[in-house]
C-alpha cells in the first residue's frame, strides 16, 4: 500500500461561504452616481488630490475627504493587460483588457476594462491599444448600481 506507484485518495470538496458586506455611505453614493452615468471622486483637503473611486479618507494624509465632485468620463490609458485565460470566479469572460485609466482631472488611476475594439487577435490589440491613448466611458443601458454599470472604456476616435 505504501510502496511503489500508488494512487492515494483525493478528497473533492467545495467551500462556499456567504457574506453580506455593508456598502456604507461612500460606496452607496458612488454607485448611485453610476446609475445616473456619473463618476464621483472625493478630494483630499490636505494634499488636494482627487481620489477616484470616491472614498471617505485619504490613505496618505489620513484625513476625511468629504468634498465630492463628479469627474470626467474621459481619460488616458496608464497601463493595460490582455487576458486570454479564464479565471475561476471572475465575472468577466476572456478575452478582455484590464487597464488603469487616468481620468482627466484626477490623481489616482481608475481600474476598469478597455473595449470597443476587436480583442480576438493579440497582435492587433498590441498595435491598437497604447498607453496615453484617450478613452471614454461607455455605459450599460441597464444599471444595477455596481461597478459594471460602466460597460468599458473605449478609444476616443
Amino acid at each position: 500500500m505504501v510502496s511503489g506507484k500508488v494512487e492515494y485518495t483525493i478528497l473533492k470538496d467545495e467551500v462556499a461561504i456567504p457574506y453580506e458586506l455593508a456598502m456604507g455611505p461612500t460606496w452607496t453614493r458612488f454607485f448611485e452616481g453610476l446609475k445616473e452615468e456619473k463618476i464621483y471622486a472625493t478630494r483630499c483637503p490636505r494634499c488636494n488630490r482627487v481620489l477616484v473611486p470616491a472614498r471617505s479618507y485619504c490613505p496618505r494624509c489620513f484625513v476625511e475627504t468629504d468634498q465630492w465632485l463628479e469627474v470626467s468620463q474621459e481619460g488616458t490609458i496608464v497601463c493595460w493587460a490582455l487576458t486570454e485565460y479564464e479565471y475561476f470566479a471572475i465575472p468577466v469572460k476572456p478575452p478582455y483588457i484590464g487597464a488603469l485609466i487616468k481620468l482627466d482631472g484626477t490623481d489616482t488611476n481608475f481600474l476598469h476594462l478597455i473595449g470597443g475594439i476587436d480583442l480576438s487577435d493579440p497582435e492587433y490589440v498590441r498595435k491598437t491599444v497604447k498607453n496615453g491613448m484617450k478613452v471614454k466611458a461607455v455605459w450599460n443601458t441597464e444599471k444595477k448600481g455596481t461597478i459594471m454599470d460602466i460597460k468599458y472604456f473605449e478609444p476616443v476616435r
Binding site: 492515494y8 490582455l82 471572475i90 476572456p94 489616482t108 488611476n109
Partner: protein, 388 residues
C-alpha cells in the same frame, strides 16, 4: 537595535505536486529535515511561527491549529503571521523580532502551501473585494502584466529587448534549478520555446510565470548565546525592511515602486549597504514573473531605472555575473506561496554559510532575500551576512 539574531538551520521539502502526502505530513517533512540536519531538538525551541498565504488556498481556516503537532508547538507559544504573498518573509521577520526582543532565544519559523489542493488563481481573486477590483484583475498575472507594461512604456524599452531579457532569465533560472535538489520545475528551455509559448495575459507567456507548487520550509532563528551554545555556523540577520502601499491598485506608482524601494533602503541602511551591486554577493529576488524580476533589479538599486534589460543581457545577474540573482532557480521554478519568501531567506542563509551545494556562489558573504505580496502592495527585504 535589538539583540543580534542568526539563522542556524533550515529545512525544506521537495517541492512540486505533492499528492503523495496530506498537508500536515508535508509540513512535517520540512520541520523534521530541519531538526535532523541540525541535531537540535524541538525541546530547545522557545516559540513557533507558522503561516500560509490565505486560508482559502488550503480550505482550512487558521491552519496553526491543524499543524500544531507537526510544528512541534504543543505546549509552546505560537504566532500565526500572514501577509499574502510576502508571508514567507514576514514569517522570517516575526522570528527575527521575537529573538531580537529578548523574549525568546530559539524560534522555529515554518511556512507552507499546498497550492495544488485549492485553486490558486481563484484564491487570488478573493484578495480583491467584490465592490470594485475583483472584476478586472485576472489573478496575479493580470496585475503584473499591467505593471510591467507600464514600466516598459515609461522607460521606452523596446518590446523585443524586454522579451529577450525575460527569455534569458527564464532559461537561466530553469537551468539553475537543476542544481537545486528542492526545486520544482527543472527544464532546459530554448529561446524558441519561450518566445512562442502560450499567452497568459499579454505580453506574459507561459514560461514567464511561476508554477503552482506544494511545499514547506522551516528555519531556526537563534540569539547570539544560542548560536555559541549550539555550535552551528550562523547566517546573521543584518538588515530587515518592509513596506506596504494602498490597497487600490491605481493609487500608487508601481513602476518607480515606493514599497520596493523603501523596503530595500530600510534593510540596506540597517546592514550598512551603500552600493548594493558592489556590496551584495548574491540575491534571492522573489520572481514569480520574469518581467517583474527585471523591475525589481531597478527598484532595489542593482542597476539604474530602465537598465535592467541591458544588464541582464550582459549577464550581470547570471550565476557567474557581478550579482548572481536567484541561483536556486527562484520563485519562477518553485512557488509554494506561504513558504516562498521563507525559501528566499533560507537560500540566502545557505549561501552565506557556504552550504548551498551545487548552486553555491563561491565566497558569498552578504546575501539579499526578498518577497512581495498583496495587490502589488508589499515588499519585504532581509540582508543576511556570514559576519555579524
Amino acid at each position: 537595535m535589538g539583540r543580534p539574531v542568526a539563522i542556524i538551520g533550515v529545512g525544506q521539502t521537495r517541492h512540486g505536486r505533492r499528492f503523495d502526502v496530506s498537508y500536515p505530513e508535508l509540513v512535517k517533512e520540512a520541520v523534521d529535515a530541519l531538526f535532523d540536519t541540525t541535531g537540535i531538538g524541538p525541546d530547545d525551541v522557545d516559540g513557533v511561527v507558522s503561516g500560509t498565504m490565505p486560508s482559502m488556498m488550503e480550505g482550512v481556516a487558521l491552519t496553526h491549529f491543524y499543524f500544531a503537532d507537526v510544528l512541534r508547538s504543543v505546549g509552546k507559544p505560537i504566532m500565526k503571521t500572514e501577509t499574502c504573498g510576502s508571508t514567507g518573509a514576514s514569517l522570517a521577520i516575526t522570528g527575527y523580532y521575537w529573538v531580537a526582543s529578548g523574549m525568546a532565544d530559539l524560534v522555529l519559523v515554518v511556512g507552507s502551501e499546498k497550492m495544488n489542493e485549492g485553486d490558486s488563481q481563484a484564491t487570488m481573486t478573493t484578495v480583491l473585494e467584490p465592490f470594485y477590483q475583483r472584476y478586472f484583475i485576472a489573478g496575479a498575472p493580470g496585475i503584473f502584466s499591467m505593471q510591467s507594461q507600464e514600466w516598459s512604456v515609461r522607460f521606452g524599452i523596446p518590446e523585443d529587448k524586454i522579451r529577450a531579457a525575460a527569455t534569458r532569465l527564464t532559461i537561466d533560472h530553469h537551468s539553475d534549478a537543476f542544481d537545486n535538489p528542492y526545486a520544482h520545475i527543472k527544464k532546459k528551455l530554448t529561446e524558441e520555446e519561450v518566445n512562442n509559448a502560450r499567452i497568459i495575459t499579454y505580453p506574459v507567456r507561459l514560461w514567464d510565470v511561476c508554477p503552482n507548487s506544494d511545499g514547506a520550509c522551516a528555519v531556526l532563528f537563534a540569539s547570539e548565546d544560542k548560536v555559541k551554545q549550539m555550535g552551528r555556523k550562523p547566517a546573521w540577520i543584518r538588515g530587515v525592511g518592509y513596506s506596504g502601499e494602498e490597497y487600490w491598485f491605481g493609487d500608487s506608482d508601481k513602476v518607480v515602486w515606493q514599497s520596493a524601494i523603501q523596503a530595500s533602503r530600510e534593510a540596506y541602511r540597517m546592514a550598512g549597504v551603500t552600493n548594493p551591486i558592489e556590496d551584495l554577493d548574491v540575491a534571492e529576488v522573489y520572481n514569480p514573473f520574469t518581467f517583474q524580476e527585471l523591475l525589481f533589479y531597478e527598484c532595489f538599486g542593482f542597476c539604474d531605472f530602465g537598465k535592467a534589460c541591458d544588464e541582464t543581457l550582459k549577464g550581470t545577474f547570471a550565476r557567474d555575473g557581478k550579482l548572481p540573482c536567484d541561483p536556486s532557480g527562484g520563485t519562477l521554478c518553485t512557488n509554494p506561496i506561504g513558504a516562498t519568501g521563507l525559501i528566499r531567506v533560507s537560500e540566502a542563509a545557505l549561501q552565506v554559510t557556504g552550504q548551498a551545494g551545487d548552486h553555491q556562489i563561491p565566497g558569498a558573504k552578504l546575501a539579499f532575500a526578498h518577497a512581495m505580496g498583496g495587490v502589488d502592495q508589499y515588499n519585504a527585504v532581509l540582508i543576511l551576512g556570514s559576519e555579524l
